[in-house]
Subunit: 233 residues, 2 copies
């Protein structure tokens, strides 16, 4: 892993900025947050950020790029626990155990900010608004990926696609985007095979619900997709 000489220039370019997403960006926070970041790490595609054997010391905020956390089961299957995109934070699950539960690896070239847990705690103690924000973020993580709950493959994939479109662009959801991960990764996440993902995408395409060409997907009927996902509201 490479260290960057100049850690951070501004809050807006910092992956730690989700702390600030919900409220007006506060110059004082910016300073506090920036000082909590130890260094930025440049990750090449497929490069590992941490493995379960590593003792927990730091949280990581994603500045740019995508990562996955995963474990390998007894039979050699890669079980992806979660995907992480720009502005999201990895490592919360390690607080309780003292070591990382999963392996984390980059899906693309990525830039992540390391936040030592001790700095993080100090930061929380110094600012009760940040504290609320952290509770908010952790709570949010408790609610993400709930589509693994769903029973059928169709439902899971539809819900995943919608979630993906919402998380890839924090500002506004896009109807068209590129998959940051392979069919195999999607399958490893949804507990389906790459073949099933491929077949389902073809099926959605035949039904005119999406267009898809390689990594590029476009939603033609978002409502229909939501119906399949079981998001009724």
């Amino acid at each position: 892993m490479n260290n960057k000489a100049n850690p951070l220039s501004s809050c807006s370019s910092c992956g730690f900025s989700p702390f600030c997403h919900l409220e007006e960006v506060n110059p004082q926070w910016m300073h506090q947050i920036n000082s909590a970041v130890k260094r930025q790490l440049v990750l090449k595609k497929k490069q590992s950020l941490y493995v379960p054997q590593n003792t927990f010391h730091s949280l990581y905020a994603i500045h740019s790029g995508c990562l996955k956390t995963y474990e390998i089961d007894r039979d050699g299957n890669e079980l992806i626990n979660s995907f992480y995109f720009a502005g999201e934070i990895l490592g919360f699950e390690a607080i309780a155990r003292g070591n990382y539960l999963f392996s984390a690896a980059a899906l693309s070239d990525a830039l992540v900010c390391e936040i030592p847990y001790s700095h993080f705690i100090e930061l929380l103690n110094s600012n009760s608004n940040l504290q609320k924000q952290i509770l908010y973020l952790m709570s949010q993580q408790l609610t993400t990926g709930t589509y693994l709950n769903f029973v059928t493959a169709e439902q899971r994939l539809a819900a995943f696609l919608i979630d993906l479109s919402e998380r890839l662009f924090v500002s506004e959801p896009h109807l068209e985007f590129n998959f940051p991960m392979s069919r195999q990764d999607i399958g490893n996440y949804l507990r389906l095979t790459a073949e099933t993902i491929s077949r389902l995408l073809a099926q959605f395409k035949d039904s005119k619900i999406i267009t898809i060409e390689h990594k590029k997907i476009q939603f033609l009927q978002l409502d229909q997709l939501k119906t399949i996902a079981g998001i009724v509201k």
Copy 2:
């Protein structure tokens, strides 16, 4: 929901005490925690604690009994999100959204303590050790129920049984215990049918891995069960 006249007498009888599990019980904490609890609620079996439409105001600590959180999908299936046992806290997932994501209902007669979120926040601000403890608890919740990850029904059930035995008795895991929930509930949680649960339990029994009679289960070969669950270490 009934209100009790006398909210709390001592920390040891309080469901909020998981805050204190990890470190020496501190009299000062006890006082702070007890004052954060608004009231205790007595729940009858099958009674509802909250539904998704309810605005989020409070967290709930389970003093005694068991609860489940669930949602009903488009096709009418009850998807259980999580089970909660004595000493565990419900509601963290609602912090981000502002309302509860799931319905919560009692699996048995239960006693829960209501902790208004505003009290909770004050409590955190007043005590940085409690703050660490909360991060610990929320982190823990990020790591529970990971066996839904597993692919085969056998694996999921084995992992569920082990987790259950560890969570039902905080002090020391028991090899023998009674199921607090029905086969149907287990199935609704693991995304399997009650019939499949029944068949798998019979299969484990035939393999001399467990004994089972109605609600009473005993582990004969915990190692074997762990192997099936894929917990290799």
